[in-house]
Each structure stands twice: as structure tokens, then as C-alpha cells.
Symmetry: C2
Subunit: 596 residues, 2 copies
């Protein structure tokens, strides 16, 4: 294997083009095998293999610095920068993250997982180089749909003014995560059609010199292009036309499906997943039904429709009643607000991690204008995800915005009733945290009037202890109630708070009559979240409160059970906390078990 | 006066061009007189007067809908849409807001004060029109620097795909709030130089049809252009070249200074403001001193340098060590992170209201990467500002991001020590909330080691009651301490918490020994903020806590005293709350005044 001799970028320098071509095949095979075993980003990495080899052949990392956008296309880069064992040795498949990670290698500058950041970050690197009067090339590798994100466009605009070395490689694989979207892509099409010669050129209009490489998977052509721009004294775009999924027929033909794959997707007897009901399928059914009856209903995704299970059949059935804005979360929120203000019924689907992009749009475009948009927030909760894709910050982020109504359903019927209420009302911006757990169904239609804001539901009235189990963690609350009965012989009150954006003062006051401990459970970081509002409410009273949820930290692929343990979110810890509170009270006054 | 006959847009339709020219002079005079009395946005409104008249002459609002970006350029629009009394009658000068406001008129669609939102919002309006199969023109009026904001660029990209009527008027007045910045503006220059004929055209590259109007203050030419695009069946950009400050020599010659003016700026004997020390001047001195000694120090502003007192002299002195990114907050944060990662020392200056644009960049680009950036957050606090420019949400927004260190200085020496520490350390992303109150100085250099995170300062040790006075509100805490002495005969402990991103557990536990009430005071909304963290800490203990701060609401030009009163932030309310807590405890056990 050629790869045997390659441990670091320098080892590439002596290879011939033929050897590099063989190397790219070797790398590709390793990626296919590994990703098919562990799951991960497949198509983007297969498409960028040659460009990565050519980059490291021409440039001298880490003096020359490359920033990978999204960084899920960094697998070939990892293999070439001291981490090939993570692809060769199946025992080490999980040793390295799926994104650039500075703690792994000096060839990675940033941890990156959200899109459209590379250009802005690289402009900073370049400016620092200039301030310090140092040398070296600064390269941003963007594409695969990231180009339309506002941060990328802002970065391009300012990068053009650097007046010094700055190279943007645009990896144009004709795709966003799903199809490409927007006017800008028509210009990219034109540029490809004219072999880069069209007078009207987005990149030139943004102030860049420009170079086009039609054969973006041809190492020789790439080396030629990179040599031309290396050590340039001004900002330049190298637009390379690559093939997503290159070298694997199935991936080339199923670009969207192979963007990210589950383990064993490529096996001959690939595992068949039973099509079972989940909250995505419930959402899809709801949207299709509503949309067919009301042409003002429209579903929106800022890219990643796959995250919500919005397959092409679903998208086709919705037709004009579906918009994929591409990677453009800010626009998606403002767009939804505009739709709602003009009488349409928008349902904006967004992942918890990416809703972070839109705080100001939620505040100004949506909530200040009280636009009746329905936002569905997916995957919210603590998880074993990579540190770049955590979904545990949406409760603090969304619930402290005035006018917003943020709901936490606990079962299918509730979720459907909330969806329906939200879509048919016109007073509030509403966000719903799509449950991130198995579907629970009561079988009884939910008749709650959700327009009575901040009304918590008392599911079972008990005494002494009240458990507020929010959304995903309502099931934990049910479990805890049973355990409290068993361990403490107390018949606790079980409450479904429903609303994350407000508190039920009347109920909380009522609890003071015959309860002395309130427990809150939320599937997200505690800081700025729901439980703290309950603690504040009772802060000057005698009610004791215990808040359970996540810690304020970036966890990185930590098993969920370990996270729970660290947060004291396991039943044993909670019971022990309860017993401590009771013991302290009893020691003090002996009156705790007596109703006040 | 022509204006006597004009109450609503329809009244314009019968005017001749000559009459409209007279009208524009009348409108201009009203704006100058009013703005010089009340203060407000001057230059942008003088520049857009003719375009507004032409718009309402050609289009039929409100069936045709216009969305004003930033909306501080809507004064002529307000005069023409039933609100001229707000400019004619000095008693009614403050009756209408300085931004579009749907509650004032059906001709205003949105409340808008942050920039770069118009295109995205208008795309939503247009799509809703299409879904409902209705007619009418949808127009976004953008410019005056807003074009480079990510949300605008994302919106342009998606607007191009509408396939139906959509008109973007680009008001190109050669300016951002200060100078224009970025590569895109070089294309605008080229287009102006070629009378719109240049082949390389940013707007065409984004998928728009394009029309150029060199004389953007000529009503006849504007009417001609607007007639051409009215009822277009596809997306089109009308690029109009206007003169900011048009018609007022002083404003034409001082574009930046006249973007927004203080009352009486234009008077012959204009008020002279004594140049007194404030936290902006302290910041400027600090930056200049540091930058002259260390060429890796760089100050950044995402536009609005005037907000920070960064006048042209200051900017010129910094030279390459200063970047105005233009309106591009997201980019500014990522850019700063890149600078820091490559060894520079960036100081990013941003207004609390606009920091809302950057949550994801703070989280992902900055904090996940632990980039040692210094962010200065200005104007943070409750205020009587317009609902579009509130600055009271930054504590919840910033302080719940992992790895961030968010500091609240209480006097000049502390502020300087924090600045210095932040700039010279390389472990943490640091945000400092620049005090929004008069300068307090101790005269004694602050030697605190701020690298010992979350260490609160006990300023005066007392008993029973501890007051945590955060940042701007430390002075309130001092006052309250005196009052508690007087009213309750208790010598309270006075604490300066310093850190908003963490709590001093050791100190808080220590307080439990000889205190039974903790009071928190913060200048921002309580929800998700600092006080709730203290309440959570004590939630299962006997310590009583009272949290004071703002309510979660969009206040709109409410006098600060009224806000304080509504929040119970006046001394009388706080003393009464304290007495209630004590009375309740005494009634219960008689033991409250005894140390535990």
C-alpha cells in the first residue's frame, strides 16, 4: 500500500501523480469500510479525497493552514495527518472524532461542526498572520451546501478586503445536503457550464480573483490549480467541481442518502429497519393532512430534511407547500415570520443544535412581531453527540424570549393537539420541542385548550412531593414517582408542566398548602432553563426545590448514561437527595412530615 | 403646503412631478426640524424622501407591501401614511416610534429595528401571497449598509427562487453607518461607475433581474423605474444611487455624524457637551495604549463604531489594528476567534442588542474552541429604548454558554484590570459588560487575579442579609445596604459577584452560617439570568433568596423609573419584600433573627 509510507503530509511530497491516484483509491476504500461499520459522513469525504491529497502535496500544513467547513469532509485529511490508524484498525475506529479536532493534531485549527464558518474563521487567521507580519497560506475549504449560510457570505465579503494571501476553495459537488437551493447556485451552474468563463461571476462580484477546475477529482489538475494560487498576495477563489460520493456507485447515485449513513448501509444484506411510528412520522402525517386541506400550510426546513424524515416522496407531495431554504437558518425564521404575517401557516422544522443560529431572528423577526409561526425543534435533549452537535441548549435559548410559547409535549395525543392548536391560532409564535424519545400514546384525544398559557397539568394528585417532569423527562418523572412511593412511602404529585416559557403561579402556590418539596426534571442544561424558574418562584418561601438536568458544558461523545450519572440524574442519586432534604428538615424541626 | 392635501398614499396619485418635488422639500424640512428637536435618524431619511414619494405614487400600499430594512429610514413613509401630525405638531413629536410599527398603521407590516431583515421577511410575504393565489407587489427596501448582513444575503439567495413578483430596492448611499466595508461594495462601485452596465453584477449573479437608477433622488426617474418593475412576474433588483443627508449641506458633508443626531445638533449655538470621562473613553485609551505596544492587538466593530465612541481619529490611529466588519455580527465573532487562534489579541466591541445575532458563533466558533477573544458588550441593561433596540437580554444569552467567562465590572479600576487580564490570558473567551452608568473610580489599582474564576468579592462583611449587586447595579446594592441599616437595623453583607458565568459555591455556602437572606440585583431580565442561579443554588436549603431584575417582556420607550417600579426594583418595594420575608419567618418560628 502507498499509504504504508504516508504518515504525515510531508510524506506525500515525493509521490508521483500515479502513486497519488492509487493513494486516493486506498483512502477511499478505508473510508467506505470504516463509515459502513460505524456510520458517518460518506459522500462528502469520497468527493474531497483528491483535493485533500493535492492540497497537502502543494501546501505545507501546519505553516499553511486549512479550515474545513462543517469539517465532516475531513476524513481524508485525518488519514494524511497522523490519524490513519483510526481508519485502518477497527479497534480504533472511534478513537478520532468525525470532525476536525485540534487536540488530535496540529493540522486541525478548529473544532467545527456547524456549517458556513470556515471563511470567517480563516479571515481571522489571515489577519492575525498579517498583524504579526508572518508568512504562510490561509485556506478555507467550503462547499457541500455551506456557501449560502449568512456567516459564509459575510465572511466572503470581508475576506475580499484583506489585501493579502487568502484562498477559498469552493467544493462544488452540485449538492447541499439535499438539493442545492437559491439564486447563487444558478450562478455556480453558469460558471460550470462556461468552464468558469462567464462574465457574471458571483465570486468576482464579491471581490475575489477566480480560478475554475472542472475536474475536481483529478489530482493533476488540482495540483496545477493549487500551485497557481499558492503564495498569492490577494484573495482568490478556486472553484472545484467534484463528484459527491465519487468512486462508490451507490453513493454517486444516491447522493442525499449517502451524505451520512447508518452502520451497514452498504452491506449486501443491509439491515432492514422496521418502519415504526416515531414523532417524525407523526409530524409528516400531520403536515400532509393539513396541507392537503389548506393551501396556506407550508413546511420549511433550513436544509437537513433527512433529520426530520422528510424524504423526497414527502417533499414532492407537498410541492409548493414545502420550502428547503438550504443552509440558511436565519433566513428560514424571518421567512416564516413573513409568511405568517401575510396569512400563511408556516411550520418551520429545525434541529435543536441549529436553532442556535437564529436567536435574534426569533427575538426580532418573530416574537417582537408576534408572528404565528409554528417552530418544531427536533432532537432537543442531552445526548452522546459530538461536541459540535449538542442539542441541550434550546430551552435556555428559546424560553427566555418574550412572547414566545415553547411547549414540551409528553405523548402523541398531546403533540398532535399542540400542533393543531399552534397552526390554527394567530396570536403567538409557538415552538414545540418534538419529543426525542419513543412514542407514548394514551389512545385518548387531547382536548386541552393550549391558548390558556402556562397552565401546568396535574396528572396525579398526591402529597408532600411534587414532580415536574418536562417533555422527554415526563417518563422519568413517572418512574421516580413509583420509586418515591417505594423508597419513601410518599404518594407524590405528578405534574406535566407543558409550557417552558412560563410558570403556573396559581398551581405552584397551591402546592405550598400540602407539599414541601418540588422536583424538576428537564432534558437540557439547567443553566437558564426551566427548573431555575421554579427555584426562583419558591426562593423566598419554605418550599424546597431540587432541579435536575444537564450541566453547562460541551460534552463530547459521552455515553448518555455517564452524562446522567454526572448530573445526578439517576434514580439512586435523586432518591438520596430527597432523603437528605428530609433528614435535614427532620433534624431541624421534626415537623417536615407534617403538613403545614 | 402640498402636504396639507396629503394624508394617505392615495392622495399622491393626482400630484404632478413638480408638486412632488415641492412635497419632498416640505417633508425634508419637517424631518430636519423634528429630528433636530427630538434627536433621531437624520441622514437616512433625507436620502430616501424622493424614493418614498415615488414608491407611494407608483405602488398601492397596503395591497402592495413594502418592508423597510432597519426601518429607521421610514420617516417620509410615516408622513405619507397618516402620521404627519407626528412631524407637524411638536406636541406629537413623540407619539410615533422611529421605526415601522404595525399598531400605528396598516402601511407598516413589521416592527423592525435590527438590520438586514427586510429581504427575508419580504420573501415570506411574497410566498404567502403565492400560496393564497393573491396579487400585489412585495417590495423590500434595503441598503444604508444592511446589505452585507448574513440574513440579507441568505434572503437574497432564496428570494431569487420565488419565480414570482418580488422587488428589492437597494438604497445605495455609498455608506454603511460609517464607511462601507467589504468586497461586495466594490461591485456596487463598479455598477455605479458603469451606470449599471457592468457585466459582472452581484445581483444578477444572485439570480435577479436588475435595473439601475443613477439619480436616486430624482422623483421622475424613480417613478419611471418603479413603473417598469411594478407587477413584474419575477424577482428584480432596483439599485438606486441616493445621497445620504440630501438637501441639508451639513448632513451631506457629515454623513456619519448625521446618521443619527442628538437634539439640537443643527442649532447655530449647538449645545457643547463637556468631554467627560466615560467607559467608552476609558476603553479607547486602553486600546490605543495596548495597540501601540503590541501590534497583535486589534479592535473590531461590526459597524456602529459611533456607539462605542470610536471616532475617525481613533480609527485612523489604529490603522491596520482596527477592523470595521460592516454590519456582519456573525462574521465579526468568528473573525475574532480566528484572530485569537492565530495568536492575535482581538477586542470585539458590540452592542448588547446586536450581540443577539451571534449566539451560535459565540457557542461554536468561540467557546467550543476556547479562543481567547475579548468581547466588550455595550449598553447592557434595562432602558427606555425602543422595543427594537433593547439591551436587557445579554446576560441570559451569553452567560449560559459553556466555557465563556462573562464579567460585570463595577468601577473603572476593576474594568481596566479585567480588560488587561482578558487581553493577556490565552485560556478563555471573555466577555465584559461595559458599565452603562457613570464612571465610578476607587483611585486604587485593582490587583485581583481574574483567572481564579467565579470568585465573588465580599466588599463589606455584615450579617443576616447578603446583597449581591451585579455590575451596573452594584451602586443600587450600596444604597440598599444603607437603607437596610436604617430601616431594618441590619448590617448587611455587600458582595460584588464579578462573574456572571458561574457562582462562588464556597462563599455561598459560607453565607449559610450567618445569613438567612440573599438579595440579588441585576440590570437585565431575570429569566435565565444571574439571580436564578443563586436561587437554584439555595433551592433545597433554608436560605431565602430575593431576585431583582427585569421582567421578560419587550418594553417600548417606557421611562426607566416606570420599568424599575413595575419590576419592584425601587428601594421601597425591596425593603417591603425584606420585611415580609422576616415577618413570615418570625410568625412561623420566632427564630429568624437568631443565627443558625
Amino acid at each position: 500500500m502507498i499509504l504504508d509510507k504516508i504518515n504525515y503530509p510531508n510524506d506525500l511530497k515525493s509521490l508521483t501523480v500515479d502513486e497519488m491516484n492509487i493513494l486516493s483509491q486506498e483512502i477511499r476504500e478505508l473510508i467506505i469500510k470504516k463509515v459502513n461499520t460505524t456510520g458517518g459522513h460518506l459522500g462528502p469525504n469520497l468527493g474531497i479525497t483528491e483535493a485533500t491529497i493535492a492540497f497537502h502535496y502543494v501546501f505545507n500544513s501546519p505553516e499553511d493552514k486549512i479550515v474545513f467547513d462543517v469539517s465532516h469532509q475531513c476524513y481524508p485529511h485525518k488519514i494524511l495527518t497522523g490519524r490513519k490508524e483510526g481508519f485502518l484498525d477497527s479497534d480504533k475506529y472511534l478513537k478520532y472524532t468525525g470532525y476536525t479536532a485540534p487536540e488530535e493534531s496540529e493540522h486541525d485549527i478548529f473544532k467545527i461542526g456547524h456549517t458556513s464558518t470556515s471563511v470567517s474563521l480563516a479571515v481571522g487567521l489571515a489577519k492575525a498572520r498579517d498583524l504579526k507580519r508572518e508568512k504562510g497560506n490561509i485556506v478555507a475549504l467550503i462547499g457541500d451546501g455551506s456557501l449560502t449560510g449568512g456567516e459564509a457570505l459575510e465572511g466572503l465579503n470581508n475576506g475580499a478586503t484583506l489585501g493579502s494571501n487568502f484562498i477559498v476553495i469552493v467544493n462544488d459537488n452540485d449538492m447541499s445536503i439535499a438539493e442545492n437551493h437559491g439564486g447563487l447556485y444558478s450562478n455556480l451552474e453558469l460558471l460550470k457550464k462556461t468552464n468558469g468563463m462567464a462574465e457574471n461571476n458571483f465570486f468576482k462580484a464579491m471581490g475575489y480573483d477566480y480560478l475554475y477546475v472542472e475536474e475536481g477529482n483529478n489530482i493533476e489538475k488540482l495540483i496545477e490549480a493549487f500551485c497557481k494560487v499558492k503564495d498569492t498576495d490577494h484573495p482568490v477563489v478556486v472553484h472545484i467541481h467534484t463528484l459527491k460520493g465519487k468512486g462508490l456507485k451507490f453513493a454517486e447515485e444516491n447522493k442525499e442518502a449517502c451524505h451520512w449513513i447508518l452502520p451497514h448501509t452498504l452491506d449486501e444484506n443491509k439491515p432492514v429497519y422496521e418502519a415504526k411510528e416515531d414523532y417524525s412520522s407523526i409530524t409528516k402525517d400531520f403536515i400532509l393532512k393539513k396541507a392537503s386541506k389548506d393551501r396556506s400550510v407550508i413546511a420549511i426546513t433550513p436544509a437537513t430534511p433527512g433529520v426530520y424524515g422528510f424524504d423526497s416522496e414527502f417533499r414532492n407531495r407537498l410541492g409548493k407547500q414545502y420550502t428547503d431554504t438550504g443552509i440558511a437558518e436565519e433566513h428560514a425564521v424571518a421567512y416564516a415570520s413573513g409568511l405568517a404575517k401575510n396569512g400563511a401557516k408556516p411550520i418551520l422544522n429545525i434541529m435543536s443544535s441549529f436553532v442556535q443560529r437564529t436567536y435574534d431572528q426569533m427575538s426580532q423577526d418573530l416574537c417582537l412581531n408576534n408572528s404565528p409561526v409554528t417552530m418544531l425543534v427536533y432532537w432537543g435533549g442531552l445526548s452522546s453527540a459530538d461536541c459540535t452537535h449538542l442539542c441541550c441548549f434550546d430551552i435556555p435559548l428559546i424560553s427566555n424570549i418574550p412572547n414566545m410559547v415553547y411547549l414540551a409535549p409528553t405523548n402523541k395525543e398531546e403533540y398532535l393537539a399542540m400542533l393543531n392548536w399552534s397552526l390554527e391560532q394567530n396570536k403567538h409564535p409557538v415552538a414545540i420541542r418534538v419529543p426525542n424519545v419513543d412514542v407514548v400514546t394514551t389512545g385518548i384525544p387531547d382536548k386541552t385548550d393550549y391558548s390558556i398559557l402556562n397552565k401546568f397539568k396535574v396528572v396525579e394528585k398526591g402529597e408532600k412531593i411534587a414532580i415536574l417532569g418536562l417533555g422527554n423527562f415526563f417518563n422519568k418523572a413517572v418512574e421516580l414517582k413509583d420509586l418515591i412511593k417505594k423508597e419513601c412511602n410518599i404518594n407524590a404529585t405528578l405534574i406535566n408542566p407543558v409550557y417552558m416559557t412560563g410558570i403556573d403561579k396559581e398551581l405552584l402556590e397551591e402546592l405550598e398548602k400540602d407539599h414541601n418539596l418540588v422536583i424538576t426534571l428537564e432534558d437540557g442544561v439547567l443553566d437558564g432553563g426551566f427548573g431555575e424558574k421554579i427555584s426562583r418562584f419558591y426562593s423566598a418561601s419554605d418550599m424546597k426545590v431540587l432541579n435536575y438536568g444537564g450541566l453547562k458544558e460541551f460534552t463530547d461523545r459521552v455515553p448518555l448514561e455517564d452524562i446522567y450519572k454526572k448530573c445526578g440524574l439517576d434514580n439512586k442519586s435523586i432518591i438520596s437527595d430527597i432523603q437528605s432534604v428530609y433528614a435535614a428538615e427532620q433534624a431541624k424541626s421534626g415537623k417536615f412530615y407534617t403538613f403545614r
